[in-house]
């Protein structure tokens, strides 16, 4: 899931979600970066409306978050 989180960070910081940027984040996190997975992620996101996907998820009542605070 770290690949996805990396994409989400780039989305937040308004940086382009491309292979170099995703890789840089994961490298910084000390992850073993699998190039093919970065590629697959970036390719899959090409036609995705990221704002939309994120906003919809944000709208979901996080109710389940459960436990005490």
């Amino acid at each position: 899931m770290e690949y996805v989180y990396a994409a989400l960070i780039l989305n937040e910081t308004d940086e382009e979600i491309n292979e170099a940027n995703v890789t840089e984040i994961l490298d910084a996190a000390g992850a073993d970066v699998e190039e093919s997975r970065v590629k697959a992620l970036v390719a899959a996101l090409e036609d995705v409306d990221i704002e939309d996907a994120v906003e919809q998820a944000a709208a979901v009542p996080a109710g389940g978050a459960g436990g005490a605070g």
Binding site: Y3, L8, A44, V54, G67, G69
Partner: protein, 297 residues
């Protein structure tokens, strides 16, 4: 066909030889070849059925002896079908595979009334509901054949789905009358596939009945499995990339709320969560003195 003619006796008339040749051609032409029962189908209806099949399947009716000869002459084990050549039958060939052919034939069957003295091909049921028939002796007939019937609201009603005859039992005159009165047609008339042969395999009808709904459910399950695996293994595809982002966002939100991380994106949710918790706790307090007015139950 010509080579085969040699070991037949010369007494076979030409018309028979031609008919056998025609049947043999049908057997060669189609992917699936089967024997269908045509018993009890009036010839006009049979003509109509033959027309309806046009394009997807071909039906030939011939003397059984000729059918057997044509089947015997064919290659690859089609001759096993000769076991089914008995009574009023026809030879059918179709481009569809045996399952498709079976479905097509089943779909083309039409309901028909059943007569006294006939054997029920399947359980016969009288469904629950208003018969629309005025009170009268008919209610007694219904009860006599085993239907739960009574007079309600000015008409005869069947109060629950009632099975009035089991499969294989004989239809009585009374039942035939009752079914006729209710316009229930328990028989399905059409070409009855006895056995079908394709690609070296002989299929019996009971293996050919497929439940489309089940296959549709399987397709949905398979698609869901693919989606689940893609998302849960974080292997993004064009279809699931958005979902994965959403999942990441939801996870971050969940963690953020759980840990009360004061991110601007979470501030609203943190406030409402705290408010909800406060109200939930207040709801557990019985003593109104302990609560401000707006929190009292």
């Amino acid at each position: 066909m010509s080579a085969e003619g040699d070991h037949q006796t010369e007494t076979v008339p030409d018309w028979k030889r031609e008919e056998v040749a025609d049947l043999a051609e049908l057997i060669d032409t189609y992917e699936s070849v089967g024997i269908v029962s045509i018993a009890g189908i009036p010839s006009r209806q049979l003509q109509a059925m033959r027309r309806d099949l046009h394009g997807s399947a071909e039906l030939r009716v011939a003397r059984n002896t000729l059918l057997v000869r044509a089947l015997d002459d064919a290659d690859d084990g089609v001759e096993e079908l000769t076991d089914e050549v008995d009574g009023q039958v026809g030879l059918i060939g179709a481009d569809a595979n045996p399952f498709g052919l079976y479905r097509e034939l089943e779909a083309s069957k039409t309901p028909a009334p059943i007569n006294a003295g006939e054997v029920a091909p399947n359980p016969i049921e009288i469904p629950e509901g208003d018969t629309g028939i005025d009170p009268g002796p008919f209610v007694g007939e219904l009860q006599q054949v085993g239907a739960a019937a009574r007079i309600m609201d000015g008409s005869i009603q069947v109060t629950e789905d009632s099975t009035v005859l089991e499969e294989g039992e004989e239809v009585s005159q009374t039942l035939a009358n009752v079914l006729g009165e209710l316009e229930i047609e328990p028989k399905e008339v059409g070409l009855d596939l006895r056995s079908v042969y394709a690609d070296g395999i002989l299929f019996e009808p009971d293996e050919l009945a497929i439940d489309i709904d089940e296959y549709r459910a399987d397709v949905e399950a398979a698609a869901a499995a693919g989606r689940n695996l893609s998302v849960n293994a974080a292997y993004p595809t064009a279809e699931t990339a958005g979902t994965l982002l959403g999942k990441g966002r939801t996870e971050a939100k969940s963690l953020g709320l759980e840990a009360a991380i004061a991110s601007p994106a979470l501030a609203d949710d943190l406030v409402s969560r705290a408010d909800a918790q406060m109200r939930a706790l207040a709801a557990n307090i019985d003593d109104e003195e302990a609560l401000p007015e707006e929190l009292r139950g």
